[in-house]
């Protein structure tokens, strides 16, 4: 083979949430009971959809204005979220599509199934998207979401969080995760956060306040780096017949 890329590195399951995490109640009936079949990546996983920067609208990465009426802005603490998308070998991932969604500053989602009594913000939709540049860097502007009560335990509250959906260069790298905010006391009480078995892996989902990129008299910045799976370098790879 002339390809110098090997298959994807095996996922480290000590740092990923298992399917069954009973404190997060919905996982009980939505988790497979049988073992997954291990599948060394094939072309079907080593490829994936490719998106074009030209697909993005000028306000797609600005949740403060992309749903607001002309001249209006969303209510709440103004923030910039930025960081790099890297793979496990430390390389920046260019042209990675990131889609984000979140509640408004009061913890209310714009969704018909949502019944929380905190009001909708007429100028906040809650979705945004951005693609990384050649170095793998991204940034978007939004308002800091509020914490949000949910019917799991009788008094469970989600920490403030932003959902991230990330497309790297292949379907094997497809990732959905959540970003939390430095110092939030709800993080360590949350059963969804606690689904992650490893303390360090959890801490990497907590974005620190980034004063260096905070814009005076305008918006605070938070820094959130995302790591996607990496491929093995493999100059000579012959998989045995039948594998």
């Amino acid at each position: 083979m002339t390809d110098t890329k090997g298959g994807y590195m095996a996922r480290d399951w000590t740092r990923q949430p298992p399917a069954l995490t009973p404190r997060y109640k919905t996982s009980l009936t939505r988790s497979p009971r049988l073992a997954k079949i291990s599948l060394p990546s094939t072309l079907s996983e080593e490829t994936g959809p490719v998106f074009d920067q030209n697909m993005l609208g000028p306000l797609d990465n600005d949740l403060i204005t992309n749903f607001a009426a002309p001249g209006e802005m969303a209510l709440g603490p103004r923030i910039i979220v930025h960081g790099h998308v890297l793979d496990e070998t430390g390389r920046g991932v260019p042209n990675a599509l990131i889609e984000v969604w979140q509640a408004n500053a009061g913890g209310r989602y714009r969704h018909k199934n949502e019944g929380y009594l905190a009001p909708l913000d007429p100028h906040f939709g809650g979705c945004g998207r951005v693609m990384t540049d050649e170095q793998g860097h991204y940034s978007f502007r939004t308002v800091k979401p509020g914490p949000y009560p949910w019917p799991n335990g009788v008094n469970d509250w989600r920490p403030a969080h932003i959902h991230f959906s990330v497309f790297g260069q292949s379907f094997a790298q497809r990732l959905i995760t959540q970003m939390y905010f430095e110092g939030d006391p709800l993080i360590w009480r949350c059963p969804i956060v606690a689904a992650i078995p490893d303390r360090d892996a959890t801490e990497r989902l907590i974005a620190p306040l980034d004063m260096q990129h905070t814009i005076p008299m305008d918006a605070q910045a938070y820094r959130f780096d995302i790591v996607l799976r990496g491929r093995r370098a493999s100059y000579f790879e012959n998989r045995p017949e039948g594998m």
Binding site: R11, D12, R15, Q16, P17, A19, T21, Y24, S27, T29, R30, S31, P32, R33, L34, K36, S38, L39, T42, L43, S44, E45, T47, G48, V50, F51, F67, T89, G90, V100, W101, Y109, H111, N113, G125, G126, C127, R129, H163, S165, F171, L175, I176, T177, Q178, I192, A195, D198, D200, A201, R204, L205, I226, V227, L228, R229, G230, E237, G242, M243
Partner: protein, 194 residues
Amino acid sequence: MSKLFESASQTAGPYVHIGCVPNFCGISDVYPNDLGERMVTDAAPGERISITGAVFDGTGAPLKDVLVEIWQANSDGHYGNDASGFTGWGRQAGHGETGTWQFDTIKPGPVAHASGHLMAPHITFWIVARGINIGLHTRMYFPEDAAAHADDPVLARIEDKSRIATLLASRADDGMYHFNIHLQGPQETVFFDV
């Protein structure tokens, strides 16, 4: 070479639609259309097919808040940007009342495998929802390709041969392929650790 660790996955939650299919959940005017809504162009060669199904939990109830993505080769068995405009990638949300979804696409050709064998025509599925902590990978194969299945290097990895049936779509009188996914229980679908 430095080694970083893949970011931990978290559930997509019940409001995944806001970010991934905003028009589907009534947030219009932000994006012109939902990404992945349309996979196939009039110019795309190959047999037009439709696939429908639902994802079921361990009690047998359909997931009404599921989000399903598929990735597939074109009719020649090639992945990626196709000159005809066929994208190979689709994304659909389960119907809010029934949980059913539908993809209108083309039948993929067989794809090369590193072993030198061809993989039988298949479509890769990725499933996220509330209650699913990390996206689930599975594959759909076509019922008419039984001979190719016998030689498929991925199906060969499934030791309990009776479970292969969970990856086979059926073709109904309506002409559509039907592919139901069972997260848990006696009909549990095979999921892959890729």
